[in-house]
Amino acid sequence: MSDERLQSEDQAILLALEMAPQAALKVSPEQGRAAEGEDATESLSRLYLEALGMMPFALEPLTPSAGLKGRMLMTAAGDETQEVRRPVLSPPVRQAASTPPPSIESTRPGVAEAPLPRAAPERPTSPRPRPTSAEIAPSVAPAASVPYRPSAGAEARSRPSRWPFRLAATLAVAALGLSGWLGWQVEEQSGELARLRTEARQAQVREAELVQLRQEVKAFESSVALVSSPLVLVCPLRPAVGTTAAPLGARAVLYVAADHQHWYFTARGLQESPAGQEYQIWFVADGRPVSGGTFSMKPGEAAHVSSETMPTGTTAISITLERKGGAVIPTGPQVLLGDQMQQIS
């Protein structure tokens, strides 16, 4: 074999084989020889790629286990989610002497200057350095002196896979964060709900007050319309003769519309209603008293009562002080009396 005639490239390759140990140890006793070795190693790397690179294609393909694909995809997805870098394990002592990475170059035009994708993922993708003797001829150079980072996966696979724990830890942290966020959200929502309920209650109160005010305004407008009507009948009321239940200055007026049905009554100057008692309005028609309703008096305020009906043939109106809620027939002292129905025009 050694008798075969070697061409120049062969001699360069053999030189690369010879140089490989020195280059791997990063010792360059002779610079000129080292440069010569670089050319040789490049030739060797091309040859290596073209020849040995074909060897795996002679192997019979094997069918992976059913779950391998799923595990790989799940791990990839887990790594994607966690964005956790796989730990770079320290190279074992024996591994420091392992095979150098197969950095081999193609002989195709325009390709020779580009390095092959390195097997070790940790190697930076910086501008391609010119391969050294140690970087090429992977199975030829003594790997003991080749500085490279061992495959993290190679060691990681020898132990139980860590990704389930990483995934579980991440999920736990995520769940904790999520629960905290949800708790905060619930608290926020509860506060917001309470605030909205309060506002709703206040709005209901305001709405009720508004309805009442509208009713009062409507009644007032109706009373004003009634009172200001040119056909309105007016019946002034004054304290009854000999009564002690009403101050002398107490006054009341009954306004009756032209239809003799709608009426409006206002009183002022009466004493505050005693506890358990109310003032009661009586229309006198055909000599009989008919209740027109009750009202209370507050200090310094006037009383207003109105209705859409009144007994036909009313000739007089009387106010008595009765028990709270009113009486069927007048039983209490007569306070005011009016029997002069007048038309203002």
């Binding site: 002679a58 192997l59 393909p61 694909k69 392992s98 990475p101 197969p102 199975s139």
Partner: protein
């Protein structure tokens, strides 16, 4: 011509897959797995002599592709060659970390890889033809040359280690290695053009 163009179009599709993987597309990773996992598993199992460990290597290799797909340069090698070199490197690393006794025993076990052969249909006719041709050319090498290539590629031994293992002078080992590689390159020039 058809048998020549199809591998090339397949190689181009492989490059597109790697580009999609670089865009974080799991479906592309799954397809790359379907295409190359059987061959990578055969390589890793051949080196390690153990299919379970071979599967670990395949998984690590494809996960490395998942993380480093952007670093792949199609001008430098085909995807299949890139994957082969990645898988081989990982498998050799793992092999080196073993006890020498274990390695020897498992290498003996690896002499019968056909017990794990894939069912028909895993690979297409073209791949099968290529495999037969590469295998034929390897078998055509003189036994002593084939030996140094196997020790170098599948066991990751250096020339010095091969010389020690085979008890052959180092110069002879180098010469045999050189001649074997040159013969193989000359015989498989067409396949090299398609694959590398």
């Amino acid at each position: 011509m058809e048998s020549t163009n199809q591998p090339l179009s397949r190689a181009i599709a492989d490059v597109a897959l790697v580009q999609r993987i670089a865009d974080r597309r799991p479906d592309a990773l799954a397809e790359l797995y379907d295409r190359h996992a059987p061959m990578l598993l055969a390589l890793a199992t051949r080196i390690l002599g153990n299919q379970a460990e071979g599967e670990d290597v395949v998984q690590d290799t494809l996960l490395q592709v998942w993380h480093k797909a952007k670093s792949y340069d199609p001008a430098r090698s085909s995807v299949s060659t890139w994957l082969v070199l990645l898988a081989r490197s990982r498998a050799i690393d793992r092999l080196r970390s073993r006890n020498v006794v274990d390695r020897t025993a498992q290498a003996a076990h690896a002499d019968n890889p056909r017990t794990h052969t894939s069912p028909k249909g895993v690979e297409d006719v073209l791949s099968r033809e290529r495999r037969e041709r590469v295998r034929r050319e390897l078998d055509a090498l003189p036994a002593e040359q084939r030996q140094v290539l196997d020790l170098a590629f599948f066991e990751g031994l250096t020339q010095v280690e091969i010389a020690e293992r085979t008890e052959i002078p180092l110069g002879t080992v180098k010469t045999r290695t050189l001649l074997a590689m040159k013969k193989l390159r000359a015989a498989l020039r067409e396949e090299i053009r398609e694959l590398l």
